[in-house]
Amino acid sequence: MLSPQETLDTYYLEARRDLLEIAAFLDRYDRAAERVGGKADDESKRDSLLEALSLLAQSEHPKANRAEQLLEHFAKIK
């Protein structure tokens, strides 16, 4: 198994890439809304993602179960 430092060094760039994709997706949505002059009729998917990001931003997760928490969170979205 990897050490804490090896874990960061191995996966940091991929996590960086994935966050950039999320940022670009949210920007894409904002530009689309600006282009048509209105938001989506149902913004629950966007709201759900923002809530998920808030969950990830919490510094302490004693059970190290962020993925499990996110899956439970996304299960609420139809």
């Binding site: 950039l20 994709e21 670009a24």
Partner: protein, 273 residues
């Protein structure tokens, strides 16, 4: 759809990549001189490398009906050896006469050191004196914003024609100053460390596209020649027309590279969609 891959390091890739690119519509690739993964010690090593990309590599590409063009330069990662850089620069002009050589590249910056800046200036100066196009590499990751700013500052202090300079590897934080200064801007699509196909299409939708180039820069590291096709698919999926795709992924390379008369592939128009 006919596609041009403007930045591709063919010697690091397999014949199967050429075959699959040909089957996907790629009609031409352009191979800038690249870092070998280690610092070369001898000018003659560069001469052999330039011969490989100007003489042999076109025959590999031609086996699959793909046109192959090249650029010559000392990579910025090797600029910390100024004596070597000067000697290679002295030898480069003979390659400007090769029928597939389009200009000087990829020069640029890596860590933006004084030696790198001196090398960049010398490369650009040589290109301008010999009427060559220029392809400029901008740094990776955390060094990108500062390095791109430094590239623009260096160019601003020189007598250059922005129409003939392509600044590559731009991303969201660097594209505006490059376009504002009148240069061509390239987006390089990497699986992890550069722009992604979707982000590239976002940029294509946000900025005027007349000076934008998109490439895979596939090389010996984690890279993929088909990120370019992925970007085209994403562009089309968002409802952009085939002609709009042709303008960006075929005709824009023709317009920039066609400033060198050796580039004889012309922009195309789709008569019916």
């Amino acid at each position: 759809m006919q596609i041009i891959q403007p930045h591709y390091h063919g010697i690091a890739r397999t014949a199967q990549d050429y075959e699959r690119m040909a089957m996907s519509g790629v009609v031409a690739v352009c191979e800038p001189a690249f870092w070998a993964g280690y610092d070369r010690r001898h000018p003659e090593t560069f001469v052999d490398y330039f011969a490989q990309i100007s003489e042999f590599e076109p025959t590999r590409a031609a086996s699959f009906g793909i046109r192959h063009f090249c650029w010559v330069a000392v990579n910025p990662k090797e600029a910390e050896n100024p004596e070597l850089t000067q000697e290679v620069l002295r030898l480069m002009p003979e390659f400007f006469n090769k029928p597939n050589c389009l200009g000087v590249g990829e020069t640029g910056l890596h860590k933006s050191t004084p030696n790198e800046i001196e090398s960049l200036q010398a490369h650009v100066d040589m290109a301008m004196k010999h009427g060559q196009l220029v392809l400029i590499h901008t740094p990776h990751l955390a060094d990108k914003a500062h390095g791109t700013k430094t590239v623009l500052e260096v160019l601003a202090g020189m007598d250059v024609d922005p129409d003939r300079i392509w600044i590559d590897h731009v991303e969201e934080q660097t594209i505006e100053p490059v376009l504002d200064a009148g240069y061509w801007a390239g987006m390089t699509l990497y699986p992890v460390t550069k722009c992604s196909p979707r982000r590239a299409v976002d940029i294509l939708e946000k900025y005027p596209t007349d000076r934008l180039l998109v490439n895979s820069s596939a090389d010996w590291g984690p890279s993929d020649p088909f990120t370019l096709q992925e970007s085209i698919m994403e562009f089309r999926r968002r409802g952009h027309s085939l002609q709009e795709a042709v303008e960006i992924f075929h005709n824009n390379p023709c317009r920039f590279l066609g400033q060198n008369p050796k580039w004889d592939i012309k922009p195309i128009t789709i008569s019916e969609e």
